[in-house]
Every structure is written in C-alpha cells, then in structure tokens.
Symmetry: C3
Subunit: 146 residues, 3 copies
C-alpha cells in the first residue's frame, strides 16, 4: 500500500498522586490517536521526564502493587546515592532511584496503529510509571502514517 | 532521498516449549521483511502479550542460560505476589514474575531496514523472551519505508 | 500535514575509555539530525553491539556513578556465567554481565524530531551505556520525516 505520509504531534497531561504509581493511560492515548485522523501507521509514546517511564502490560491493580514492590526492591528509594548526596537538603532531589529506574525502563514505546486504533494485544495497556510523584506530567504522542 | 512510503503489516507465530525460554527469531523476522518488499525503512517488532517480551543480543545458548538465571534471580518465579494471590487456584495465572519482567523489558524493538535486511550489528539477533510458556505466541512485524 | 518522506541513514563513532561507563552523546546525535536536513519526524538511535546499550536520562555525573553501581549490583561483573565458562581463557569474552545488561536495557531508543531538533524533555540527554569497554563503538542514527 502506497501512502501519503502525515505526521501529527500531540500530547496529554496527567497529575500523578503518589510517590510511586502505575497509571493506565490507554484511553487518553487512544483519544489522541483518534484526534490525529491517522488510520494506519504508528505512534511514538514518549515521556519527557527523567524520573518516570512508560511501559505496556496488563492493567491489573494487584499487578501494579507487585510491579512497584519489585522495582523498588531492585532499586531502593532509600539507598546510598551520589545524586542524592549532591543535592542533599533539597527534598525534591532525593530521587536517584527514580532516575535509575527510568534509565532502565526508558521513557518511550512505539506502537502500531491499525484502523485508527493502537494495535495492542488483548491484555495489554499503556502504563505510565511514576517514580517520583506526585507531579504534573506530560506524555508526547507523535503519530505518523496515512 | 525522497520516498513513497509503504506500510506493510504482517506477523509470525511461534510455539514456545518451556516455562522460561529465549528463542532466536531473526530468520523468521527477516523473512517477513523480505516478503514486505520494503528495501529501506524500519520495522517495529512487537509482541502482543503481557508475559513475554522481545530484545536484541547474541544468539549464544550459554548466554541464554545466563539471561534466564539472572532475570529469574531478579524477579523470582516463586514470590509473594498480589497478582498470584488474586488468581490463586488458577495455575495458569501464577505468573506475576512474567508480567513484571515483561513490563521491565517491554514487548517491542524498532530496527532499521537497509537493502531489504534488518540492519543488525555483527553479533546481534532478535530474541523472543518467553516468561510463562509453553504457549502459542505471535509477533507482529510492521514495516514502513519505500 | 501531508509530507514527502525522506529517510537518511548516518552514524557516529565513539571511543569508550572504561570498562563500564555512561557517556552523554546528545550533541553528537543532534549534529547528525541537523546534517540530515529533516525538520519534522523521528530518529531511531541504535547501538549495533551486544555489550552496550542506549538510554535517556539526566546527564549528571553523580547520577552516572549511581547508575553504574546499581546496574552492576543487579548484574555483577564477577558472577558464575555459562557464557564466561564457554570462553574461559579469553579475557575479552568474560562479559556475560554486559550481554545481560544490554538484553535488559536494549540497544535502541526512538525520539521525535521537531524543528530539526531532538524533542527531549528539559532534563533529558541521550546516554550511551558501555558495559564492556574500552572499545570503539558505533551508534546508527536513522532519521525519517520531511
């Protein structure tokens, strides 16, 4: 299929509520895809922050607890971190764990679009990972296709 | 170079054989790229499952053992997981470890295509990561370019 | 916006200096984007190696130390690895930790381009992760857009 390429840039905002939190943003992202008018192509879902990330998995609240427990067991909030020492006395900068988790999981996923919809598997959802909230966060959604 | 964009969607199937397994799917993905007829562009290789993932590394069976051992040391199969409690009694749902690993590694990679081939480094292969098999699995391959 | 698609392939080289090292390559990548002449689209930043990776985070040297310490705590350099046994006696191949970290973090990120610039958040930088240096390394930059 030969297509005329379109590129649409949009974004969504969210207010996180907890220090560490998993938030299902599938509906919000889907709305941006629909608004773009692009029916076939792909979307880059991108978090422009260094203490958050985005991933894909099942939107099960019980699983969200397991994810948070496991992530913070692997990269503890309370640790001996040079970044936290450097900014000691600044409460908002005691967040090396969040940077490290974000560097590990990364702030972006690329998802195919078919028939104006994110082509996710049956159990998949787009999950925003807050590692240092509560904060106002943005997610860029760049859509390319026809 | 100005190109006429094409978008081809295809997928491959595989039957995994073990609970946790690393499978080199480079040849299968390469065949889909060739079939697409696209010579220059990129491919989104996407696993539509929440208990598997895809990555890139050397296809060395000894390394596959190390990967499996390390991943399951970091995220043990037998752990105290809310997701498993919620579905206690359902053997097929005792898989929180698989969801967590999938959320960490994520179900997608994007690879450049040049001359109808995946532009991988010398030692690189596309690796399917099964975390909760054996199961029938699909991998979407979306190819864009000219 | 309807666009004529262009695809430009380029790459950058770097010489790493340490066994494990985090290197900010944002400026180098940005130069390749500018050279491509593409103003709006996206870039695939891709490491064609199996013992390195690429991620996005804050370019803070104190944080780099925390990242290295945490990564090698999770996946120790000195461990009991089949890959290292298989190549025992070959010093350059005692690098299972590097393969495993690379398989976990993966060798690629996709970033949007707007106005000839990588659309990074305020604190974000493109970080090359060396897990088995010092080595000569390449990073592919594939740019698509108009």
């Amino acid at each position: 299929m030969v297509i005329i390429m379109k590129i649409i840039k949009t974004y969504l905002s969210l207010q996180t509520k907890k220090r560490i939190e998993v938030i299902d943003i599938t509906d919000k992202v889907s709305k941006e895809i629909l608004k773009s008018g692009i029916t076939n192509g792909f979307a880059i879902i991108y978090v422009p922050h260094t203490t958050a990330a985005v991933t894909i998995n099942e939107p099960d609240p019980a699983l969200f607890e397991d994810i948070i427990k496991t992530y913070t067991k692997l990269v503890p909030i309370e640790g001996s971190y040079k970044h936290n020492e450097k900014y000691s006395g600044i409460p908002r900068e005691q967040n090396a764990h969040a940077h490290i988790l974000s560097s590990f999981i990364k702030p972006t996923v690329v998802v195919s679009i078919e028939d104006e919809k994110l082509e996710l598997g049956t159990w998949q959802a787009i999950l925003f990972l807050e590692f240092d909230g509560p904060r106002n966060r943005k997610v860029y959604v760049k859509v390319m296709g026809d």
